[in-house]
């Protein structure tokens, strides 16, 4: 029974990369972006209904930008909101309307696509900032539990590795869980993020049943998950990649000055240009001795 003093913040980061979704629409017309957004909306509504003090934020993750779909800056309380007419809880109807409006506006804009990958690190850091702000605004004595759910469609963007890891460690420090729901391809980075922060990582076999997976696996918060039987954690590949070929290696050579990793021994480290002395093999010396005694 969640106490009145506990606030649960759920931030959903949706990947709305138009290129991927456009290709997806052509591949599989049954499951398009609208369906995905509907499923996310169901999850959002469920979360808001679970407890009165639950808070929600949705961030759309585009290339080159991330955009808050809910709560939106344009919404002012007290506005004349057309009631949906079916007796729905007002908060839900407001949220849904705002959500839909924002995504429509977002997609309508002319986009300048020089890069086609989605910027995940940026959205995650904005999510963390939102969580931080809300945590500071609560009254004294109220507990804040927060988590971020990432719904990812396209592939990883490898150039954001450092930023991404920084975000993940910041989330770990702040006790924010990062969950991941993968629609298409496995992502090593998100696996690591989930492992480090203690969240759940799931790759969905059937995209049309997305809503069911979201409600079953990602709706319960951290405390409740220990009571439920959920998919076991995946085995994360923590191997490092060598600096010369970017192969994943298990045993390698590390420069003691700059800590760069190599798969083969080389007498000079190419990163910091330190020279290493190679120990001479013992065989050479004994052979010389033998030669002498013969003579």
């Amino acid at each position: 029974m969640a106490s009145e003093d506990e606030i649960n913040i759920l931030v959903i980061v949706i990947d709305v990369n138009p290129i991927w979704w456009g290709q997806q629409a052509q591949r599989e017309p049954k499951f398009t972006l609208s369906k995905c957004l509907d499923a996310v909306m169901v999850l959002a509504n469920s979360h808001l209904v679970m407890a009165r003090t639950n808070k929600l934020a949705i961030i759309a993750n585009l290339y080159q930008e991330s955009h808050f779909l809910y709560p939106s800056k344009n919404w002012k309380s007290g506005d004349d909101i057309a009631s949906s007419g079916d007796g729905k809880y007002e908060l839900l109807s407001v949220a849904n309307d705002l959500f839909a409006e924002e995504i429509r506006k977002l997609m309508d804009r002319k986009v300048n696509c020089t890069q086609t990958e989605t910027l995940l690190a940026g959205s995650l850091s904005r999510a963390l900032c939102y969580i931080n702000r809300v945590s500071k605004e609560v009254e004294a004595g109220q507990d804040v539990k927060s988590r971020i759910l990432v719904i990812k469609a396209a592939e990883d963007f490898t150039l954001q590795y450092m930023n991404f890891m920084n975000v993940v460690f910041a989330a770990q420090k702040k006790n924010v869980l990062i969950d991941a729901c993968m629609l298409d391809i496995d992502s090593g980075l998100l696996q690591q993020a989930c492992d480090i922060t203690g969240g759940l990582y799931l790759k969905i076999p059937q995209k049309i049943a997305l809503a069911q997976y979201l409600l079953w696996v990602f709706l319960p918060d951290g405390d409740q998950r220990s009571q439920l039987l959920l998919p076991p954690p995946v085995h994360v590949d923590y191997r490092a990649a060598c600096f010369c070929h970017r192969n994943l290696i298990e045993i390698g050579y590390v420069c003691s000055v700059c800590l760069s990793i190599f798969c083969n021994f080389s007498p000079i480290c190419t990163t910091c240009e330190t020279a290493f002395k190679m120990p001479l093999p013992q065989m050479a010396k004994t052979k010389k001795k033998k030669v002498k005694t013969v003579n």
Binding site: D38, A100, D108, Y161, Q206, I208, A209, P232, R246
Partner: protein
């Protein structure tokens, strides 16, 4: 019966042991007792086995001597000869006192050490039980490694033995007991006597002068305790007292110590005086010392405080004296036993040092060490890519991109959430089956940990096996590289020990868990470790054979 080669040092007749009459024999290496009329000894103890002897108090009717052995047993001998019982008993005691220390030292210490180690460490005790009691390895091998540590300490401590300090309360610890008839009984041990001699060298002098010429030791100490020198109120009334000189010398010593003062220029002893609280939390100055009319109580307080100060100063001095005596015979600083040697010449440097200490702080000084070498990275962008292998991104032509964007924008223009038709029930139910236990997504999660499957007694037995195996394997692996003959023999022995361990301990355990239908593979790792050891041994043996041939 005693062997002919044994030398008999003392024979005492009419000694009863366990209500039987007999004779007590003290030999060169043992003490033995045989009953009257019989040829054999029923009781025989080596001096090495005896921990200590005890005698019955003087007043008792029965004159007895008790021997306590290391093992805790004790034998009591009752000297029954009416006329000479006491003399016999004392003669025996003296002889034992001389003989026991000779045999005492070595064996007893080692055994005590071993017992102590076994008692203190339950893991060690368990290991001992597993390995030695069940005869997997012999006791010597077990203790070989462990005792080496303590023997090193032993040799070190013999060389630089630390001086035992003097307890400041040694005089107070004597604690006289009333004798019943108006007398006091002081218990003096050799420790206390030594403390007295070290602290008060004058008393030592007196002792050297008078004992054993004029007074016996007992008389000397009686005089000591009777004299006012010892007691609180020192009234130097000029009595015929050997200790009155000591008192005068102490006074002189105290005076010189006071005049010498403290060498630290930061400390001003004269500024310390008693201040009492006055009205309004102010301080009231103590009555000036020039006031002649001191009360009697103040006088005696003064005297006792002076004695306390003197006593403490002497105790500290005794501790320092030994150190200075070994280090520097011609010390520049004055000695601290009350006789001052003025060292004005050397005061300025000391004062300077003290002043500097007070005004300078080391960690606030600027750091003028050499600058360390800085890191020079040429290709620092290598750090920024993560453990993501280089993969070629799938190429999307710009036409594709524009197409996709167009499709999406078209779709989103008319986006209206239809929350009642999010998914079909068949899709939902298939998702649920995938998520239920045993479903596609739930593989590998619901295993119980080994912790929960295996009963705790099996777990603890496994832990013991691991400790024992670890110990044996440690002995085995430390033999490599095999350089000496001793190591060769040890390796062979350890190999046989390991095999014996596997046979006697591991196999029964495996059978036991099989019988209990435990499917978990608990001993796989142990087997692997033993196999590694065996293969190493075989490799070493084959190499040895090839080298020999």
């Amino acid at each position: 019966m005693a062997s002919l080669s044994e030398e008999v040092l003392l024979v005492v007749k009419r000694v009863r042991q366990r209500k039987q009459d007999g004779t007590l024999y003290l030999m060169a290496e043992r003490i033995a007792w045989g009953p009257e009329g019989k040829d054999r000894f029923t009781v025989s103890h080596l001096y090495a086995d005896i921990r200590c002897q005890k005698i019955s108090p003087d007043g008792k009717a029965k004159v007895q001597l008790q021997l306590v052995l290391h093992t805790g047993e004790s034998s009591t001998f009752h000297f029954a000869n009416v006329s000479t019982a006491l003399k016999d008993r004392d003669a025996t005691k003296e002889l034992l006192q001389q003989l026991l220390p000779r045999f005492k030292k070595k064996a007893n210490k080692e055994l005590e050490e071993k017992n102590r180690m076994l008692q203190e460490d339950p893991v060690l005790f368990q290991l001992y039980k597993d390995l030695v009691v069940s005869q997997v390895i012999s006791a010597e091998e077990f203790w070989a490694n462990r005792l080496s540590l303590s023997s090193v300490d032993h040799s070190l401590s013999n060389n630089n033995k630390q001086e035992v300090g003097i307890s400041a309360a040694f005089l107070a610890d004597i604690r006289p007991q009333t004798d019943g008839c108006n007398g006091l009984r002081y218990n003096l041990t050799s420790d206390i006597i030594e403390s007295i001699f070290r602290t008060y060298p004058t008393v030592k002098q007196k002792y050297a002068e008078n004992v054993p010429h004029n007074l016996t030791e007992k008389e000397f100490w009686t005089h000591f305790f009777q004299s006012h020198y010892f007691h609180r109120d020192r009234l130097n009334t000029g009595q015929q007292d050997i200790f009155s000189e000591c008192a005068k010398q102490d006074e002189k010593g105290l005076k010189s110590m006071v005049t010498q003062g403290v060498k630290n220029p930061m400390v001003d002893l004269l500024a310390l005086e008693d201040k009492t609280l006055d009205e309004g939390y102010g301080t009231a100055a103590a009555p000036s010392t020039s006031n002649v009319t001191k009360t009697l109580r103040e006088n005696s307080n003064c005297a006792i405080i002076k004695r306390f100060n003197h006593h403490s100063a002497m105790v500290l001095a005794a501790g320092l004296r030994k150190v200075e005596a070994c280090s520097d015979q011609t010390s520049e600083t004055s000695s601290t036993d009350g006789n001052s040697r003025d060292s004005d010449l050397f005061q300025p440097p000391l004062k300077k040092v003290k002043l500097q200490e007070a005004i300078e702080y080391d960690d606030l000084q600027s750091d003028c060490r050499r600058k360390p070498i800085s890191l020079n990275l040429k290709k620092s962008d290598r750090y920024s890519h993560g453990p993501v292998p280089l993969q070629s991104q799938p190429y999307t032509s710009s036409q594709d991109i524009l197409n996709s964007i167009g499709v999406i924008q078209h779709e989103m223009k008319s986006y209206k959430p239809r929350l009642t038709q999010v998914m079909s029930s068949s899709a939902a139910s298939s998702a649920i089956t995938a998520l239920s236990p045993g479903g596609v997504l739930m593989q590998g999660g619901s295993q119980q940990t080994v912790n929960q499957l295996v009963p705790s007694d099996v777990q603890s037995e496994l832990k013991h096996l691991y400790t024992a195996a670890g110990e044996l394997l440690r002995h085995f692996w430390t033999c490599f590289p095999v350089n000496t003959l001793f190591l060769e023999e040890k390796v062979v022995k350890m190999q046989s020990n390991l095999e014996r361990f596997q046979l006697t301990k591991l196999r029964p355990f495996q059978e036991k868990i099989q019988r209990q239908y435990l499917s978990a593979n608990l001993t796989g790792h142990l087997e692997e470790m033993l196999q590694a050891a065996y293969s190493k041994f075989q490799a070493w043996q084959s190499r040895r054979m090839t080298r020999k041939t």
